[in-house]
Amino acid sequence: MTAIVVKKEGPAGVTPTPTVGSHVNNYWRRVRGGDIGALPAVVMLVALAVGFSIARPSFFTAGNLANLFTQGAAVTLIAMGLVFVLLLGEIDLSAGFASGVCAAILANVVTVLGYPWYVAVLSAVVTGVVIGTVLGLLVAKVGIPSFVVTLAGFLAFQGVVLTLMDEGANIAVRDDVLVAIANRNLSPVLGWSLAAVAVAGYAAVQLLRHRNRAARGLLTDPIAVVAARIAGLAVILGVAVYVLNLERSRNVLVVSLKGVPIVVPIIAILLVVWTFVLQRTSYGRHIYAVGGNAEAARRAGINVDRIRISVFIICSSMAAIGGIVAASRANSVDPNTGGSNVLLYAVGAAVIGGTSLFGGKGRVLDAVLGGAVVAVIDNGMGLMGYSSGVKFVVTGVVLLAAATIDALSRRRAAATGTR
């Protein structure tokens, strides 16, 4: 989207006349120049998928695709929340165990205390909000570096989980609704309807914006490009829903297993909501500003402390949702929930997707794409049948190889000066 400032005097650069041809041309020039957005992550995903499919044909099945979503869901959700914290250049080491605490609350409320599922979910999310508020206050108001605050949180929450779990026991989660989240699927019809709604909504937004800008005489993308974008989304969603609606039961007589896993629309809705918040509201704009130059943001009258606290709240709340999904998937909560590699995987997902640890750069979509990369690696490695030592090594190497794709394209960007 470009605009000519003063039309009488010709600027030195070539201002593209908005035609389809010039648009495609321009995009290609941007790609060659290294300004590539989500492309490297997508390339990474494709490369990994092709690699694993060749190594293990069972990777390339509808069943495995469906598994992929549920396996990666918890980490992806936590990563989505972490993006907000990372956008400010902060870190939340406690997000993993915060999800554990929320899951433990969920399990206690629903199983031990016997309340209905929505009370449990509410308690878990409220716990997340409280945790985030405390962390945020300590970082913003007391001024302790977030690494230290959340390291303390990392330790303390671990202890809280243990205490909530009676020093190490597991608590089963057997509530049908909760178990369904990560284990059941939408009916095929519902899947198709949701996809249709999504495409229609996207089309409406795009066309409205196009009309709005055109009406004011601002530079717009050609309508054909807008149409192509809408069609692209329709195709992607269509194929995904179609594949997920295939029968993937091992034994159709015993059970029919098809449809979009319920976590998929959950992630999709959160993705849309958070993307909207970041890109289309002034709150989101302020997050980028504080992350880019906190002093400039302060001078612009932005309440930096409030922004800082809010991102920790968002992060911990998303961790709570991640914890709920993890509990659902495991049908139980154990003291390790949210522990081991969850945090590093979540931060890694955000960073692999393109979020900067220094703040000011990143999108929620990054977390989803990065989460997909992490999930694909984990999923694929699970099919390879390596011993655990070798598995760790190969996982590391594959992760590195995937990141190299990204690094090389970004190096191009730096070389041509477009960052």
């Binding site: 190490g168 015993v254 059970v255 929930t337 699970g382």
Partner: protein, 347 residues
Amino acid sequence: ACGDNGGSSDEAGGSNAKKPKIGVILPDSKSSARWEGADRKYLKAAFDAAGVESDIQNAQNDKTAFQTIADQMITNGVNVLMIVNLDSGTGKAVLDKAKSQGVATIDYDRLTLGGSAQYYVSFDNEAVGKLQGEGLSKCLTDKGVKNPSIAYLNGSPTDNNATLFKNGYDSVLKPKFDSKEYTKVADDSVPAWDNAQAATIFEQQLTKAGGKIDGVLAANDGLGNAAISVLKKNKLNGKVPVTGQDATKEGLQNILAGDQCMTVYKAVKKEADAAAELAIALAKGERKDTGQTVKDPEGGRDVPSVLLEPKAIYKDNVKDVVADGYVTKEELCTGAFAKLCTDAGVS
């Protein structure tokens, strides 16, 4: 050198020179609920009853923390140190240090190879594994599966106990794999005994095997439950036998529901009581005869021992665990499980 603790409390533990003090280091709290949930409780009760002071700590699967705690206990002036080692190396370092300072020691649950403990009190971990292997083949036979495909969900690759369990079930199952009676289709370790990872690992085992897994050797109830959650998703629960360990509430419920075939119950209270008794005796400067020894292959020493038998639990003897007081009926037989409890004769 043990038992001679007079005059040692001149600088460190001066405040309570009269009352004997016993330190216990538990290994972790996440691989099993028993350490914090049962052992701590029973040991504390036994020590309190005998009127000795006790300090029970948990090393959280961290060797450095383990050694630090040991240092602190010695500093704090314990007379007897009871450890569950994380590995023989650190275990030996701790035992030797304690010995050099005149502190008596007991190996609890795990034998420290090349160590110097006065006593060894344990369940035999390989025996646990053996029970799991035997349990799985019994369940498969009951189901009448021909040439079953078996998947392993081993414990943490960095946990020596997981290796011992595996040695146990391998000793039962390996001959069957060799004779082609069974087929092993997957064999993965679960880092840190993490249940969430276990679910993913098992899901991938299932995908890789094209859905054909007939029996799951899960190293404990948590891993077993993770496998069951995936089986449930594929509506295969109850059709594929799953093993476990620790007789957790969740595991027992899975057994009652028919989703899990067996678990291994270790009567922790007995183990704790036996160990406490020995420790109290040592603290008072007495020596007890256990009548049994275990050979330390590395140190070449016969260690006086108390060895307890683990017990396999199937649906029909779940009631034994309840009768033992390890799990109460109230917590086990909640909601839908009330009827199952009655059916299984749990009272």
